[in-house]
Structure formats: C-alpha cells, structure tokens
Amino acid sequence: MSTRREFLITAGTGLAVGFLYPRISGAKGAHKGAAPLRIRKNVVTAAAQSDLDSLRKGVAEMKKLIQTRPNDPRGWVLQAFIHGDCTQFTFCQHGNWYFPPWHRSFIYYFEQLIQCFSDNKGFALPYWDWSRTHSVPRSFYGSGNPLDDDISISGRCQGAPSPGRGVSETTQLTQADLDTYVGPGVINSIQQNPDYTTYGGGNPGRGQLEGTPHNFIHRWVGGVAGGGRKVSNMVQTFSPLDPIFWLHHCNIDRLYSNWLARPNHNPPPESQWRDKSFNDFYDCNGNRAGAEFTCARTLDSRVMGYVYDQTLALPAALAVRAKAAVSPKVVGSVATSRAAVKAGVLSFVTEAAPPEQTRRFMNAAAGGAASYVVRLRIDGVKTPKRQSTGVHVFLGPDVTAKTPITAPGYVGSFTFFDGEGEGGGGGGHQHGASSFLLNATKAVQELYGDTSLPEGALSVSIVTRALAAGVDAFATVEDIHPDRIQLDVVNLGA
C-alpha cells in the first residue's frame, strides 16, 4: 500500500508527465491497456468542443434506449436510477465519507458509456466550473438538443417534474450566491481545509464540499418550489436525468483531485474507507462494474485514465496561504529572486546558502525522513499569450534546454489554462501573474539523498517546451519569467 507521501510525490511529477506526454504505461496502477490519459476540460473552452460533440451524440443514443431497450441498464433513465429512483436514493453515497469516491466512479463509468455510444474512445467528460461560468452553459439548452433537460418520467414516477430546468440559459448566479456558496473565495476556503472529514464527509456526516457548492448548484439549477415556480430533475433523487448533472459532478470531482494534490491533505486511513468499492455501475457491454476501484485506488485519477487540465495550477489562495508563512509547519525556507537566462534556461540561484537549520531539515528530507517535504513555491509567473506551453522545473546545476524530465533533479511541470469563455459571465482571459507549488522532495532525494546538500547556494532552473507534439509556437522563459522562487521545508508532523 502506498503511503500518502508516496502518492504526493507521484502526483507532483507523474501528473505533469501525463499531461505533457499523455500516456501512463509506466505508472504504478496504470489503467487497463495503458491508453493515453484523457484530459477533462472546462466545457466553455474551445478545447472542450470536440468532447462536447461526443457527449451530445452519446447522450442522444442513451436517451434512445429508453424506447428501444427499456431494460438496458445503459439507458438514460436507468443510469439515473443508479443514483436514485422515484422516491429515494438507491446506490449513491451522500452525507458520508464515500461521497467523493462514489461519484468519481459514477461519472467514470458514464464517461465510458459515452465513449462507446459516441464511438470516441478519447472522450473526456468536460466540467462546468460554476465559480467562473455563472450560468448553465448555453450548449445545454435548445429544442431537440439532447443536452437539454428534456426528459420527464412523470409517467413512471408520480409528481416527477415536467421537462425543463428551473433556470434559463440567461439566469446568472448572483454576487451573493458567489460570495456565499460557489464563488472562488468560497471554493478556495473549502479547498484549504486539511480535514477530510469536514471536507469530503465523515462516517457519517456531510462535508463542506457536498453541503455547500454541491447542494447549492443542485438546488439552483433545479429551482425553488412553490408559487407556481418551475422545479426540475436536478432537485430529485434521479437528478442525473438532467445532463448538466454530469458536468456539475465532474467539477466536484475536479475539486476532489485538487484537494488530494495539496500538501498534507490526507484521505481517511481507515480500511473501511480505503478498501471500499462500489459495484453499482455498468460498463459498455451492460455488465455490472465498479468493484475494481476501491476508494484508495482511485485517489490517483490516472488509474482511471484521466487528469484535469488545471490540477497542477493551484489557486492563488493557496499561494497566499503559503506566502503568509505563518504556519509553524514550515520549518525552514530559502528564497531567491536573482535570475539569469542563458540558452533558453532561466536559472535562479539562492542569495545565500540555506541556513544551517534549513539545511539540516532538507538533508532529512533528502534522506527520506517521512515527516519532511520540500516544497517549491514559484511566485509571479506571467501568463503568456501562447498557452500551449509546458514549463519544466529542475533543481540543481547543469540544466540545459534539452535536459529530459527523467533526469535527476526534475521537480515537476506546470502549464497554463486561462480559456476562452462561451459567455455567461465566465471563462474570460486573466493575463496576470500566478503562483505555483510543486513538491520537490523527490528531486532533493535524487540529487542529495546519497550525499548531502552542497555547502553553497542552491539553483532552480526553468525551461519551456511545447505542450504537445506538433505545437511549434510556445512561450519562452522570458515570457513567463517568475518574480521569485522559494524552497520551504515542511514538517508534516507524521
């Protein structure tokens, strides 16, 4: 069984590798066949449009099954009934610590079905980031559009809503809603909570991820009852009848991934949680599925063959939290703002050698002391116009523009995602500066694990490369030039 620390190291490097070289054949616990990793994208971006087309096609096919094969478990209504039937929740997990992993599996198998029905094996479910896109995306409305909420099961379930959502395509989340339930400030606050019990759920008990943004969006899309007002499927136990359900939960799953990637954010250690799996779903052939994915196994989404486009770009609030440096867990730091560019490599060198105590802690991390993590914070990274850029970060000397990411000292990579909006108040460009956090423990171990840190200054180097094969225009290191870099040693207290 991997320790939490091992997982963090894997996430810190492997995710980036997967993003830039989307194949995980060498990854521990790789998904079947080691197919290319799917990248789940923001639905309102241009990059997600081909997935949106496949989703439309796949949903149409699943809706056809309601008539042509009413007992087929892959059909639209029976898929929704995995979640809940006419009167109650059936298999879905709400109000307890299984909420994030159960829904992770639920949308994974839905994604598989869409792949089959759309004949697109590369389909990745897009997500609706309601923090930035403040209305249900326009692509989910329209007569004859399978992505509209156009199914009513009132003939089967007494009192079921008529077709149509509780909000129109022009209805916007209010500023008060954003400030209280789903805006970036609320989400950042929830994501910073290091306690899984109050974040993802207790045994039992509803965590903040479910109780605030998740529940709010269900009710906001579903509408408020009374006074002749329209309510819809999203506030029913069979809420997956509304196609936007899947993108809403994909966003919840994205936040779960983001939470897991944060230092010192640990899922439940109990075997009752880790070993639990849910055989509640159906594969492309209509066979029962899900048993292979325990909660622990799905902590790394790459095992299920996907990552999110924003996993590594941690929110600004996290950087602010780190910048405050008030946490007693940061036991040593060394910073650098002196940089030089040479042959496509931007190198930062610390102003001085790390203080003796910091050096001691770094050596402890290099030697594999389980409770110490070396964290690299990169502040003031400029967002370039050419965003198809992978930024690779290395620790140590002698880095060139061609140093491979398999070389000792490779810390990790990040990229940019500041997509174009479809409208509705979200998705606009924000050409500002960002901060990134990377786990540098593995790099420190590779470089200095068998010796010890050098006596003098430390260097951190940055290179940029094309994000994918075939892309020849990408940003230079001058374009993204960060203001400063800091190495923190964090005592996890384990």
């Binding site: 109000g95 209280t180 207790g202 509803r206 408020v224 009374g226």
Partner: protein, 190 residues
C-alpha cells in the same frame, strides 16, 4: 433573540474521559445521540436566527487554548447531527456564525465570525460537518475569543441564520429544522 443552552454534562464528562484515555480526540457534545445519558429533547431552528451554546469540557478548553495560542489549530469540527427539515422548500441555505449571537439576515459572510453554511440535501435526516478552526483562529487573533473567556464560559455560541430563496419573501411559519445534537470536536491536529 433566542439563546438556547444545550448542555448535557453527563455525556460531556464521558466524552472527555474517553478522549483523555486515547489521546486521539476530544469532544464536547450537547445531546445524547448515543443514548448513554438518556434522551435529550430535540432542538429547533425556525425562521429567526437561533443561537445554541455548546459546552466544552475542561480538557477541550485547554487544548483549544493551547493550539490557538501557538497558531496550530487546523481542525475543529462542528457537527450537527440528525437534522430534519420541515416546510423547507423555500430555504436557500443556513449561514453559521461563531460567538456572534447578534447575527441576523443582514450579517455578511465577510464578518470574521462567519464559519460556513449548509444547503439542504434531499434526505429526511442529515448530519453535517464543518471545520471552524479558521474562524476560531481569526477570532483569537482579533481578541474576540480569549483564554479568559473560554475558561470562564467553557462554551462556544453557534448561531444559525436561515436565508430564504430570493423568490420567496420569507420562510413559511411552519418552517423548522430540528436536530438531535450539536457538537464540537477537537481531533488530533494534522
């Protein structure tokens, strides 16, 4: 303004004793959901803001004060058990404030006493959890929460402010959220 004190000293003592013996967690519970001390009348949140005083055991107070003083408080769980809604169709959400008994519909979420909120799910009975450590730390640093105050009162006041949906002018008269217990637990800090 209603302030309802919910203290069940017998169970608090049991909880703290158990916590001391394991060292893993400590808690102060108002209510008897495990049945050790006999039944406790359910508490109710109606349309008006409601404040509940949650008793803290001496050990919890000491540990809370220690962590607050050292800036090491990361997790303090507020647990609302077995909440059951009635006539809540037009409820948008409920905001939660710590040590702010005067909180009302107009109190903003930017208030330093704000600790979070909840939106109802669809279940008949719901248990909810919040981490109120950031709020407690904020109040400690501002002086709104002090060692002296904690030691004297050995309790925290939790205020619930129900918010109706914009489309409903107010919550119906028979609106009610009944719950079995309100607890603050201080687990081992991560």
């Amino acid at each position: 303004m209603r302030i309802i004190v919910i203290v069940f000293s017998g169970f608090v003592a049991l909880a703290c004793a158990a916590a001391s013996s394991t060292g893993d967690s400590a808690g102060a519970r108002a209510g008897g959901e495990r049945g050790e001390g006999g039944p406790v009348a359910a508490s109710v949140i109606t349309a008006a803001p409601a404040t509940f005083e949650v008793a803290l055991g001496g050990d919890v107070v000491r540990r809370l004060e220690l962590h607050l003083a050292h800036g090491s408080l990361e997790v303090a769980r507020l647990i609302l058990r077995d909440l059951r809604p009635r006539a809540a169709q037009t409820l948008k959400g409920v905001r939660i404030f710590v040590e702010k008994p005067e909180a009302y519909a107009g109190t903003p979420v930017a208030d330093p006493h704000y600790a979070g909120n909840f939106v109802l799910g669809l279940e008949d009975s719901q248990t909810m959890l919040w981490n109120i450590a950031p709020t407690l730390s904020r109040l400690w640093h501002s002086g709104a929460l002090t060692a002296k105050g904690l030691a004297q009162r050995k309790a925290l006041r939790i205020t619930f402010v129900p918010d109706p949906a914009e489309s409903a002018a107010s919550l119906p008269k028979d609106f009610a959220l009944t719950f079995k217990s309100l607890t603050i637990e201080l687990p081992r800090q991560p």
